[in-house]
């Protein structure tokens, strides 16, 4: 699978994540493989409910277990499998090696501690710094993400910040221990359009300065075009296409990817929810009882009988370009 000369930083291989619900087993992630190289920006794109957030959370083992369960596959971090890792060992990976930024800046910070305290908490935990030194680092990080008056603002509580500012705080917190990989799970979805661009710019700037790899989870193709080097398209718990960003936009092969790209508004690159949903008819199938064959068949305009008979495997159609469609 990894044909590249150097091992990837993160290599998710054939990951399967199941959730037990009242109505049965939901296969939220069903055999997903994603590689992220050192310093690379990979975008994972797909509609809500396609398993991209669960994939991201599972990398850090932040899903609730139970009801969640890693049913199979490997998560290789610099060659070492994280799946069987004990929680102690897992903790030393979190924030220090792999950090994560969530979708909801309004609720992702604890309302009862100052933002400075919350950033300092990571530093103290992972780098064993003293209280003072950790707070200094926190202020430095806030400055880095362009929070004005960082020295003073560090002593403010989350409710005293706007949504965009809170997301900056989250990014500062995630980067405070110099992780090698930053997972950003829809970091701009909950923000105003103008703020979205600012946060994306900030992420790009941080990447340039600190040189970490980024795995950006998003449902907006516009964002993908702007920041990605490589793109992984997910649909209903599976990877349906993967390619370098130029190749993907120039030559999208999977009908779902084509639909996603068509759904980008021409003028404004930051796509909004409505455009995309209108562009592809229907919704993601239930992962409780996924249909036999191609999972996109019900919404695909090129559907044939063969699509419904067997699931098309992911195959390489050009160098570095894989897709799962019989066409």
């Amino acid at each position: 699978m990894s044909a590249s000369t150097t091992d990837p930083l993160l290599s998710i291989r054939d990951l399967r994540v199941h959730f037990a619900t009242d109505d049965g087993m939901v296969r939220a992630v069903d055999g997903v493989s994603i590689d992220v190289g050192r310093g690379e920006t990979v975008c994972v794109v797909g509609e809500s409910g396609c398993g991209k957030t669960v994939t991201a959370m599972t990398v850090l083992k932040l899903i609730a277990m139970p009801p969640g369960r890693i049913a199979g596959g490997q998560i290789l971090w610099q060659g070492r499998d994280l799946v069987p890792l004990k929680s102690d060992a897992m903790r030393s990976i979190r924030a220090k090696e792999i950090a994560i930024v969530f979708q909801e800046p309004m609720t992702s910070l604890n309302p009862v501690y100052t933002v400075g305290e919350q950033i300092a908490e990571v530093v103290r935990q992972q780098e064993k710094l003293g209280r003072r030194a950790a707070m200094d680092r926190a202020i430095e990080m806030l400055r880095l993400v362009h929070i004005p008056n960082a020295q003073r603002r560090a002593h403010d509580y989350p409710h005293q910040f706007s949504g965009g500012m809170r997301q900056r705080v989250m990014i500062a917190m995630a980067l405070s221990c110099n992780p090698k990989l930053l997972i950003a799970d829809e970091p701009t979805t909950a923000l105003d359009v103008t703020i979205q661009a600012q946060i994306l710019d900030l992420l790009a700037e941080m990447k340039e300065r600190l040189g970490m790899a980024v795995m950006l989870i998003t449902h907006a193709m516009g964002v993908v075009a702007e920041v990605a080097q490589r793109v992984v398209v997910m649909y209903a718990g599976k990877v349906v296409e993967e390619a370098p960003v130029r190749e993907l936009f120039a030559n999208p092969r999977h009908p779902y990817t084509q639909g996603l790209i068509r759904s980008i508004p021409r003028i404004d690159l930051a796509a909004t929810h409505h455009h995309r949903l209108e562009a592809i008819p229907g919704t993601v199938p239930s992962l409780l009882n996924p249909p036999v064959g191609c999972r996109f068949a019900a919404r695909c305009r090129y559907v044939t009988d063969a699509c419904r008979a067997a699931e098309p495997p992911l195959r390489e159609v050009a160098p570095g370009h894989k897709m799962a469609c019989i066409l």
Binding site: I93, F102, S108, N110, P111, V112, Q125
Partner: protein, 319 residues
Amino acid sequence: MLHYLIRRLMIAIPSLLGISVILFTVLALAPGDPFEELATNPAVPPDVRAHLRASLGLDDPIHLRYISWLTAMLRGEWGFSFVSRIPVEQLILQRLPTTVAVIGASQILALAIALPVGVYAATRPYSIFDQIANTLAFVGFSLPTFFTGLLLILLFSIQLDWLPFVFRTSIEATGWRWWWEMVRQSIMPVAVLGLFQGAAWTRFVRSAVLDVVRLDHVTTARSKGLPESRVTMRHVVRNAMIPVVTLVALQMPAVFGGAIVTEQIFRVPGIGSLLISAILANDTPVIMAVTFVFAGLVIFFNLLADVLYGWLDPRISYR
């Protein structure tokens, strides 16, 4: 924070006034005019009686009577007990420390049960431990304090003969021995009150923790690589305390009710048993004063809860 405190105090004052109005209304509407009794009781010396009549303004219109009654209450002129013929305030001051000690100890016991059990149960919802804790909590607050008290007496005093069932004020012993006897006779009253409140609070803590556990900021805390114990203590329990404080404050009147019953069962010489004996002896000034003291205590604890609340939740005190 100071601003917030002052505002809470400003809210507490009308509450206290409101309670005093309710109390006064009850007394004024009551047949037989309890105020009249106060002044005409032969046990009161004539000069004091004259002074009382004047200070209570018994012949004034109702609102003036309320004001003079309130000023008398606030000045600590609570009249004389018909039964023991000593000033009511003196009687209450004698008894109050015992009540506060019993309530305080039982609340500490209740917290010592509710916090660990509630948190542990909530972090393992629907486990065996959770189910047992939940069942015991239901049993605990469905058992009225007067019945628990009798059960404990039956078991520990009558069957096992381990603990005395009557609380004695004067223990003929000094030093360690005195403390030992005090502890022995306090165990049951404190346990009765503490177990009842502990059961109710366990449910509060459990449901508050369950509400916090699923919040996003807890996932954030885990993503920082914090140990699970630290996530639970600093990011779950700390936040869950905010609603718990409110619920505990709402429970304060019930706590005082429980204290009255407990004191009565074990004959603890606090203001609760003073109230009951005063009612049985038609000792009106004492009844009025004790009720007023209870009202004051409830307001005081509510204020304390407000302070705690403001301290726990920065969103409140900074607003």
